[in-house]
Subunit: 654 residues, 3 copies
Amino acid sequence: MFYGGDYNPEQWPEPVWREDLALMRAAGVTVVTVGVFAWSVLEPSPGRYAFGWLDTVLDGLAGAGIRVALATPTAAPPPWFSRRHPETLPVGPDGIRRSPGSRDTYCASAPAYRAAARRLAGALAERYRRHPALALWRVHNEYGTTCHCDLTADAFRGWLERRYGSLDALNDAWTTTFWSQRYGDWAEILPPRTTQYLPNPAQVLDFRRFTSDELLDAYREQRDVLRTVAPGVPVTTNFVLGDWVPVDHLRWSREVDLVAVDHYPAESGPAAEEEAAFLADLARGWALDGTGRPDWLLMETAPNLVYTRGRMHAKEPGRMTRHALAAVARGSRGAMFFQWRAPRGGAEVFHAAMVPHAGAETRVHREAAALGATLARTAELLDAAVEARVAVGFHEPSQWALDATVLPSSAVDHRTEARLAHRALARGGLTCDVVGGLDGLSRYAVLVLPCWYLLTDEQSATLAGWVTGGGRLVATYLTGVADDRARVHPGGRAGALRELLGVRLEEVHPLAEGAGRALSGGASGSLWSETVHLTGADATIRYEDGRPAVTRHRVGSGEAWYLSTRLDDEAYVALLGAVAEGAGVLPRRPPPPAGVEVVRRTRDGRGWLVAINHGERPYDLRADGLDLLTGEAVTAGDPLRPGAAVVVREGAGP
Amino acid sequence: MFYGGDYNPEQWPEPVWREDLALMRAAGVTVVTVGVFAWSVLEPSPGRYAFGWLDTVLDGLAGAGIRVALATPTAAPPPWFSRRHPETLPVGPDGIRRSPGSRDTYCASAPAYRAAARRLAGALAERYRRHPALALWRVHNEYGTTCHCDLTADAFRGWLERRYGSLDALNDAWTTTFWSQRYGDWAEILPPRTTQYLPNPAQVLDFRRFTSDELLDAYREQRDVLRTVAPGVPVTTNFVLGDWVPVDHLRWSREVDLVAVDHYPAESGPAAEEEAAFLADLARGWALDGTGRPDWLLMETAPNLVYTRGRMHAKEPGRMTRHALAAVARGSRGAMFFQWRAPRGGAEVFHAAMVPHAGAETRVHREAAALGATLARTAELLDAAVEARVAVGFHEPSQWALDATVLPSSAVDHRTEARLAHRALARGGLTCDVVGGLDGLSRYAVLVLPCWYLLTDEQSATLAGWVTGGGRLVATYLTGVADDRARVHPGGRAGALRELLGVRLEEVHPLAEGAGRALSGGASGSLWSETVHLTGADATIRYEDGRPAVTRHRVGSGEAWYLSTRLDDEAYVALLGAVAEGAGVLPRRPPPPAGVEVVRRTRDGRGWLVAINHGERPYDLRADGLDLLTGEAVTAGDPLRPGAAVVVREGAGP
Amino acid sequence: MFYGGDYNPEQWPEPVWREDLALMRAAGVTVVTVGVFAWSVLEPSPGRYAFGWLDTVLDGLAGAGIRVALATPTAAPPPWFSRRHPETLPVGPDGIRRSPGSRDTYCASAPAYRAAARRLAGALAERYRRHPALALWRVHNEYGTTCHCDLTADAFRGWLERRYGSLDALNDAWTTTFWSQRYGDWAEILPPRTTQYLPNPAQVLDFRRFTSDELLDAYREQRDVLRTVAPGVPVTTNFVLGDWVPVDHLRWSREVDLVAVDHYPAESGPAAEEEAAFLADLARGWALDGTGRPDWLLMETAPNLVYTRGRMHAKEPGRMTRHALAAVARGSRGAMFFQWRAPRGGAEVFHAAMVPHAGAETRVHREAAALGATLARTAELLDAAVEARVAVGFHEPSQWALDATVLPSSAVDHRTEARLAHRALARGGLTCDVVGGLDGLSRYAVLVLPCWYLLTDEQSATLAGWVTGGGRLVATYLTGVADDRARVHPGGRAGALRELLGVRLEEVHPLAEGAGRALSGGASGSLWSETVHLTGADATIRYEDGRPAVTRHRVGSGEAWYLSTRLDDEAYVALLGAVAEGAGVLPRRPPPPAGVEVVRRTRDGRGWLVAINHGERPYDLRADGLDLLTGEAVTAGDPLRPGAAVVVREGAGP
């Protein structure tokens, strides 16, 4: 199991390193990430490497039995590099070149930057490829820098030329007849820089796709150098989610040896666990798509604090442990933290750490230190499948397209709708995968597509085939509105899906914040509503005026559902539960109460049940077997006390 | 009657054109606007015109009996143009040149842009001057781009030199002794770019005036080319209102053959009708000033949606029709919409259309299609005068001066105050003109000047003469504070008007949002209050402490009123009603209830009464005659049901 | 006594000057500030001075017995200067050079600007050094411009080199190992310009310190020219407070002959008096530190209006007078206003003035005019000490460091906490000095350090020595967290102070806005809370869960208190009162009620008591003696009516 964190010895004198090693050993740390932002100390001047200190650090770690995720430090070029190559500094949409002085001050399209990154990766690989501590290459850090410079513009044009082949195809894809934007020469095309009024959404979408691919190229170059020089060492990079991150993680998952994600939640209350569960199921979805296996790695999270709305929140005692186990339950190969030791200075001086400013004699360090042993006991979960016959779609390009478009309601957000679907399933006792593509539908009996805006006719056909064969599709409003160029499908919303859904969608009626519409059966809808005509489907829930709100179309042996509004929580849970049950997927009955997380893993006919009680009341376990955490037998009906967790190997015997 | 909309066949393949023609004919469309953003398809590369498709479109329209407002496409230069002439891209106040990629990416002071615009207008005129479809030239689209580049700076200096003649005059006008801004050379003068602290309000005001004039020059150049090449075809451009629009529409009204306005309301509830009525009366005010006739054209409005506070609102069934009739009642020569067919892509993909994404089999298209016949029945209203003996002043330079000044309260807004005065008159049953200048006072018995900030001594004298001769002036706080250079008149607020008003204004006491001051007679004031001394006037309403709040000064056979606070609705309606009655202007008694709009038109001794019931209760009509919409007789006392409208030709006979 | 204001005759024709002189004389004006923004009229073109008008003005003033604070006009370079020396225009953090058109458009690091400033100061000094009106040089106006240009970058590097000596020392101080920011060459260092993500707080802090020093150099150059050419004339510059002001006023106080401050309050209600009292006690603290004497000068304040939250508030009748007396009570040598006569135009056209737009026949002018005589009667207070044995710390670099750091709560603000401590003392009847440094501790029995974030080990030792010797230290959360490079002290918050305080600080728990934690004794805490361990101290107030909230550590003959939360008002007043009483400092018993300000001055064994009743109820005076304002005897128990003030020379006799 991975247990450890980001380790930055370069910030400390050597005596502290010895204390670090002692504390790590005591805590059972297995892996630390080293070198993430170390460029300026690894290469203090052009071409002059200073590996000595890192040798010492790695030797010390190896001696202590601790392995290393060795980072390439390319996310933060040093001052000398920016001064020597000012063209590598990123440029904002306003055309202003950013100054050095922070991190991530690079342009992935700048040849000098790319060459330096390859060179550094090569130098590190040469030096450490046989080092006993080396367990994993971590390339860069949280790829996510968008640049709008002229070098980027050139690269964008090249990308577009490869994508579209001809200007006619591009003009068609971007609807450049709107507002006189027809291009007559590739050289006329620019990134979506600050302009006079609304930009072209197709251009914005493609630029985000391009940026993802350009960063991916930068990653692949380093990866390929590392693989060549140090064959056999797995390579990854840590993903991060955020509005500003121009990365299509589904595509990236296919290029890493292990999907690794950072999780800095935006919620501090009970929603934090829901948010973490969503991210974990999403990471697993990426892993399944990319590597075919369910395991991934929670590579960074904060050991104590959550920063939200201008304030840091301490995690209550035990919460860090439960979060780590929850990640493991959903497929993570362990839990790693940012960071090992709190820094004395710098931009993140108050970021939480496993060794806080107040030192090792602290609650946080004691709790972190105890986690090592706990995680070690869960090792047999590795590679066990997570039992999930339901999937929720989360499609980053759809989010980007919605972000780029002036919608009938600015409150619509694919991310939020995906989270709500995931939450409704969880509350109904259904574990799901969160999937970014439609390639693995055969794994699932039920698929929820919430505001999955972009859908090609081919994808609609895929969905139709899957439904006809028995699948249950639940599509919400704004699903399948546009093709992959953000062009609205002819004939109205839902495009090629309309036939499958058996509806005709006429007008939209977004609802004000706080406003709702009463629905049949005592339910209510919010955010959005529509005028829906039935063309084959039947209405299962209606608006107060009798018009269809939720519809079901039976097609072949499957069903295609359409939700024209955002259902209230209770109705959403009930609806998704009923759809799943119709598909033969039985939710856990009764569903676990709020705050209790239950995940089942299976491998080779064996089962494990992980149950975690984040709530305030005891929960009656529904499993017999051995609790790996305590080594004691567990019987169905045993109470799981608030704050506690079990990892039950089901059945008798060891 | 104009009935139609913006038509963009360049976005569609030819089979759709044929469907368009059939649908237009069925709907009774009379005029469509073509070519607005077609530059990049009309001139796909420098100097190479591609008129073929437009020939086909215009021939098709002509064949269907539909005429064309042919636009010059100069509001959206194509990519090749911006690349070839980067100096034509507009520059923000921060000195950053805007990128192409939207629309309106032009600088009106750039010679290359101006030359291209003239050339394009000439080419279109040469090609289509004798085309049977051609009904009207629509130059450009919604002029409104402010630029701060060096070419603009040069033009600004030239404009200032013509305006002031000498640097001494400019230094005096701009009070450049404040903060050491005295200019010693014309070359030192710049547009008001981003500076260290507060800008000079006089400079900001003059720059906005200059921008209006510069855009007007650009318009006039195109107009003159069109008139020369295609004599006899009327020319206009469509006005749009908005904070950002640097256009003094009063001056522009004198340069167009037909005042054409776009209306995209900011309100979706009942205030939408009040907002539309204000704009219509304002457009008519401009028309009266510019062409001497009351008729104008509602050139663009949305057939269905209103976008406000991040959300699109559908217009309820019938509302589009009522809005169109309301515009016609107030002088519009018809109703045109943006746009004919909803686009597949581009920045405004969800903008409402007469043919929505969902196609012609939709409520919206059916309602739009029925409107053609309805409007046709109102044709005899054309050129009939709107009965209005009251006027409200709306002075765009005053708004600009207030915007440019750090006021005692940032909540003061000329636009809002003008709307409130208009609404109070309407609620009291008084139709008014909204006027931008003081040249036509003889038309009116009552004039309300709400926060009309800029007033020269000559204008004060004009007002004094008009009042002495019997006029009733109602001036609110912040009226006449400054001269036309935004210099406060010596001796305190209201300047040369003080004598006419018979008051001395000492201190101001702006009120907090939500706060009010009790007034005599049970009224209340908000937003503003003052210490007013009587120097001839008498106080008709007093503050709780007995000091004057509203005053009346009898001068000659007229009266000059002063309002030192914003009266509550009821008191404002009562006051303006009483003032009008004193002037012999009898409001409709009883005033129509909320939501009922009544306008009377007259021509050659005949009268028409338009009544529109936007409300929820029946309204007893007060007219006898023939309802043009139904062809049936109407008798006073007949109920006008909610949602209905009549256009009654008063009296008997055909 | 100084009584007068900013006088800008250059904005008016000569006839107005004569009226000004008559009005000033009638009002008893003693000093006016002349020339502040007069560069463009004093030097209308390069090198050509136009002193004639200023000669006339100064002669007129001298003839009227009015003296002059003669300003160097360097805060607003004229248009010709900016055009000729564009490199002197300031550059924002985004790299954009600001345009002229306002004021303060200078870069203090630009040689051309510095040379011009010296030249101007010299020219003014040469011309007027013997003018009988000349009383004081006022250099510049409200120094406070931050620039990020390349000239500034050069100067910053020089400053850093002088400060740190070596790059290693700088790299250590700035913790440049964080995020790969290690510098290998001085030339790599830049101002903190707009960068990709979070900046380095140590860099931001040092840049602010540098800016303060750079502006101070600019001031000193002018001062030295003035002293050389016009020896014997005192020199000052007017300080202004504000988030944006990069000035460490403590250091500046040592360079002026008289601490002069501008006060434009942000509060209009009763908090305005508390805010003014804080600023006055702070100005006196600077004066004591810089000149060793308690007197300072309120150089600018508004005679009538306060601008806050978008609205100007009139000062109620009498309030301007009370504010002026309150300043004098706390050490000001008089009261001066911005400005004498309201301008006709310019950016501050509605700013209050002693002669408003409405002229001299106004309440405001009458009140201002009466103030001259009132102030004259208080002259014997000059140089009398303000009785204050308690001090509150206000440390501008700590504020800057907090501003530059991502804190556990963004609501923490040193400024606010210092104001709250000052208010709690005042409400408890304790007058205090507000001190910026720890050099003069021997003056005080009690010192409150509220969020005094930066503290060196040497300073901690100073504090420990002072406490051991009997001092009472009250430190709040976030005091002494970091050293003077913003590096967190090893071992946890409070650093070297921890031993003195006798606590170990483990975790922080910032509280949400509006949230509170119950404390023992019925008190409550807000904003912040902590896990505090006692290591010598005892807990005097505890959180509801029994953990320490407020602690006291007896050390030697003193006490060191720690507050881990923001106490509610009542508890704070009680606590500080008790601490003071323990130190033998008896607060005024009973404390004056809300709205009554009482300050005692002493000199050579004599005492004066100033009492000002801003409140709404009579207050029973607690002094016997002669009221200097009325010349009448006062006896303890006499009521001080609402709105009134007395300056009582204690005891019998003249």
